[in-house]
Amino acid sequence: MKKLLALMVAAVVGVGLAQPVTIGILSPLTGGAAGTGQAQKAGFELALAEINAAGGVLGQPLRIIIEDDRADPATSVAAFEKLMTEDGVEFIAGGFSSGATLALVESFRTFQPIVSWIGGASSGIGNDAFDGIEELLGQEEWFFHVHPWDYQNVEATFGFIGDLGVDSVAILHEDGAFGTPGAAGLEAGLEAMGVDVVLREAFTSTLTGGTGDFRATLSKVGAAGADMLYWIGYDPDAQPLSSQLKELGVAPAYVFGAPPGWPTGIEAAPEMQCVMGLIGYLPNLPNPEAVAFADAYRAMHGTDPDNYMSALAYAQLWSYADAINAAGTTDQAAVIEKLKTMTFGSPMGDWSFKPSIEAKHQGFGSEMWLVFQFQNGVREIVWPADRATAPLAACR
């Protein structure tokens, strides 16, 4: 009888253990946001290899299924529902596009898996007429948001600009859903700090159909004569904005760019000298976790981890592995409990989920952001002072 009982227990436990934990991932592997998607994929692959080398999750190798969502609403919804119903996953990761995330809200709420979501920075806070992702999903117990919200991106800059002590700022922003709310938040915050916003102009980004000629708007910046130019746009705008600024002879003391990422190879361009930007992660970060990550990434993929999305994806998958292992089960309530309370490691240092304005579980906040500056072909961290690798230099 005891033997039979032992056999039954072993069988049950065996069956329970036999299923490897599978995490479903949505990422824009192709299409306009492919840079982000491919970077995320590289980060996920590295984390997966390390997690499984360290024993996997609940004693079994972790499995991931990465679905291409193309940053497109229709594809995202179909891909998510496939992961939930055909693949039967219980954990969702990845995420980037705000538009696609909004389309997923209804589906997320229907299935209610644990959703750890990198992207969708559009919080909707501060915009009464628009429900953003934080407002729609923030209160859900199963929703964990990793990337900082849009207002947290802007918040980081306020600390920096305050330390810098400039009197006037000219704001340029791409005219879409990324740049416009960001610029509005920035202007409001700067005015509250007593900084004079002398210009706020929209431009057509190269990513949304512009041809990269920003001379008209930049000449207005010259006429306004601000201490600092702050622009919010997309990656391919960085080069033309910087070089045309110099070409026109417009020379503010500080130039600050806030694209989601920076093009590969741009450090070598001399006109980028003294341009500053926000970055979550850089390959030359000195802290040990960053060095380890960069080395491992290089060993696996053969290139530097240029895009901070790799670091975020890596951190996200590791947080899942740590939480599920700590919980000892895939039971949703138990894993949620661990995700809420644990501190996780990442190339950017330790992090955890804390409440933000309307979200219960927000991962990285404004403290993730570092200000870097292009100095002689290298991106040096110049702020916050305790993590700086070089002193800040004004443009003139």
């Binding site: 512009g210 006429a223 910087s242």
Partner: protein, 288 residues
């Protein structure tokens, strides 16, 4: 309205027409003269841009130097595409050409994505990029000036080839009457091959300029293709010399609105396409 910015707006606008003319001239040859509706034209820019980037990264070539390599490579690509697929749809309805070239475009775009990844690529270390000649209170950028000069040369060159050389005459003959051209002894297929290769070559040069100005991604082609189509149509199919003036009109209008109107740069595309639409409609009714 800050009138002090007007002179700079005018200069920038005139020079910006160079890039527009550059991206339109290859398409003008393909559609305007030969009659091939090429939805993959933007991908030729994109390949030119990425080749320029790769030549810089691997060998340190200045983009202007890479034009010497990019041009023949793009010619070969265009010719190869023509010989393998496009010549089979020449007699088919235009819509078939659209589907074929659309498919080719998808292939090229995603191959580029697989090779170079999705991140934008910048050609660093182009010393003349941020240089602007200060002429009487206005800045004349070297890069836009260069694009302008190159585009005028290419447009003028293409016009001369079409008007004065045997090859050009052959191209025009083939475009006017395919059967007749064959009857008088022209090797129709060879003419089309050269023409299409030439169209790709011109697009490739445009792509090199784009790589200098911007940081291209595999999807960079589309925005330029749409505008190139519009400029070719604005100039009038077959009107090669008109490309420069058509480009100038839209570039100037864009520049003026972008400078003089608050948030005017956000209206750039509206200005561009409103001029296109307005001109097309106006001309059509005036003809009637």
């Amino acid at each position: 309205m800050d009138l002090s910015l007007l002179p700079q707006a005018l200069v920038s606008g005139v020079l910006a027409s160079g890039l527009y003319a550059l991206v339109a001239v290859g398409l003008a040859l393909a559609i305007g003269v030969i009659g091939i509706v090429n939805f993959a034209h933007g991908e030729f820019f994109m390949i030119g841009a990425f080749l320029a980037y790769q030549l810089f990264v691997s060998f340190g070539f200045d983009p202007l130097l890479s034009i010497l390599f990019v041009a023949p490579v793009l010619f070969l690509i265009g010719a190869a595409l023509y010989a393998s697929t496009i010549r089979f749809v020449l007699k088919a309805p235009e819509l078939n050409q659209m589907l074929l070239t659309f498919g080719i475009g998808i292939i090229l775009q995603n191959l580029a994505l697989m090779i170079w990844g999705g991140d934008p690529r910048s050609i660093g270390g182009v010393p003349y990029r941020a240089v602007g000649l200060q002429v009487g209170g206005v800045s004349v950028g070297l890069v836009p000036l260069g694009s302008f000069v190159i585009s005028v040369l290419l447009v003028g060159g293409l016009y001369l080839v079409l008007a004065r050389t045997p090859l050009g005459r052959a191209m025009r003959a083939v475009a006017q009457n395919r059967v007749g051209a064959g009857l008088v002894g022209l090797e129709v297929n060879r003419v089309y091959l050269v023409a299409f290769g030439l169209s790709a070559l011109l697009a490739g040069i445009g792509g090199v300029m784009i790589a200098v100005i911007q940081s291209p991604t595999p999807t960079v082609g589309l925005a330029f293709t749409l505008k190139a189509f519009a400029i070719v149509v604005l100039a009038g199919l077959g009107n090669i010399r008109g490309i420069v003036s058509a480009a100038m009109v839209v570039a100037l209008a864009e520049s003026l609105v972008a400078t003089m109107v608050p948030n005017g740069d956000a209206l750039r595309n509206a200005v561009f396409f409103a001029i296109i639409l307005g001109t097309l409609v106006y001309r059509s009714w005036r003809r009637a």
